[in-house]
Symmetry: C2
Subunit: 152 residues, 2 copies
C-alpha cells in the first residue's frame, strides 16, 4: 500500500473519531521530513470552532519552531480545507498543501471561496489534491454513518 | 462623538499597538449587550498567525458561554476580516458582523474571497461595514507610519 505523511494525518483523523470529533487529521512536515505539528479536530472537546485539524497542527508547528511563519514546511490534511483553514495556511506560508478527500460542501480551495486564487491571499501554496483520497473519504463516511445510526 | 461597541474594539486595537502588534481589535457582544469576548492581534507575541483579534475574541466568547456556537451574538472589529477570520465568524454563527475600515489589500468580506458569498459558507452574518471607519483606519495608519519611521 502506498504510504506518505498522509498516513500520519489519517492516524490523527482516526484518533479524532475515537474522541467523537469529526475525523479530519493533519500534520506539518519540514523540508527535512520531520513532523513538527500534528492534530485532529478538537472543536467539540474544547468548545472552540477554530480547533480544526489544520489549525491545531499549524499552531503546534509554530510553537515547535518558535516563529510565526512556517516557510518551507508542507501540510498534509485528510480533507480539503475550509476558508478559515485555507486562510491560516496562507498566513503561515506553507509551501505545499496536500489534501486527501475533496469537500464540495464546505471546501474553499478548489470550490467556493477558492481562498488562494485572489490577490488578497499574499501566499499561495502549491496544492496537491486527491492523495490517499479514498482512505481519507472512507474515514469520514464511516463516522457519519455511525452518527446517523445513533440518531445524532 | 458617536460611540458604539466599536469604541471597545478600538480600545483593544490601541492596546495591541502598544504591544507592537498590528492594531486591530474586536469584541463579541450578546443580544443583551454584554461583552463576552474581546481581544487585539497577538500574532507576534505568541508566534501564532491564528491569533488575529477576531479569533481571540471569538475563542474567549465561546469559553465564556461554554459552547462552540455564538448564535445571536454580534462581532465588532476595527478592520475588514481576512479569509481565516471570516471563516471563523461563519463557523461561530455570529449574527451581525460590524467592521470599521475596509481592507482592499487583505480583506475577504467585500473583496477577494468574499467568504460569505458562497454555498460552502453555511452561515452568513448580516454585515454592517464602515462603522467608525475613519477612527479605525487612523489607528492603523499611525501605527504603520511609525513602523516605517523605525525602518521596520
Amino acid at each position: 500500500m502506498f504510504t506518505s505523511f498522509m498516513t500520519d494525518a489519517l492516524a490523527e483523523a482516526r484518533e479524532a473519531a475515537a474522541r467523537g470529533e469529526v475525523p479530519v487529521g493533519a500534520v506539518v512536515v519540514t523540508s527535512d521530513g520531520e513532523i513538527i505539528g500534528r492534530g485532529g479536530n478538537q472543536t467539540r472537546e474544547h468548545h472552540d470552532i477554530t480547533q480544526h485539524a489544520e489549525i491545531v497542527a499549524l499552531r503546534q508547528a509554530a510553537q515547535t519552531l518558535g516563529q510565526e511563519r512556517l516557510d518551507g514546511c508542507d501540510l498534509y490534511v485528510t480533507l480539503e480545507p475550509c476558508a478559515m483553514c485555507a486562510g491560516a495556511i496562507s498566513h503561515a506560508r506553507i509551501r505545499r498543501l496536500y489534501f486527501g478527500a475533496s469537500d464540495p460542501k464546505s471546501g474553499a480551495v478548489h470550490v467556493g471561496a477558492r481562498v488562494f486564487e485572489h490577490a488578497q491571499s499574499h501566499h499561495k501554496p502549491e496544492v496537491i489534491s486527491g492523495l490517499q483520497e479514498e482512505e481519507c473519504a472512507e474515514v469520514l463516511k464511516v463516522f457519519f454513518a455511525a452518527q446517523r445510526d445513533l440518531g445524532r
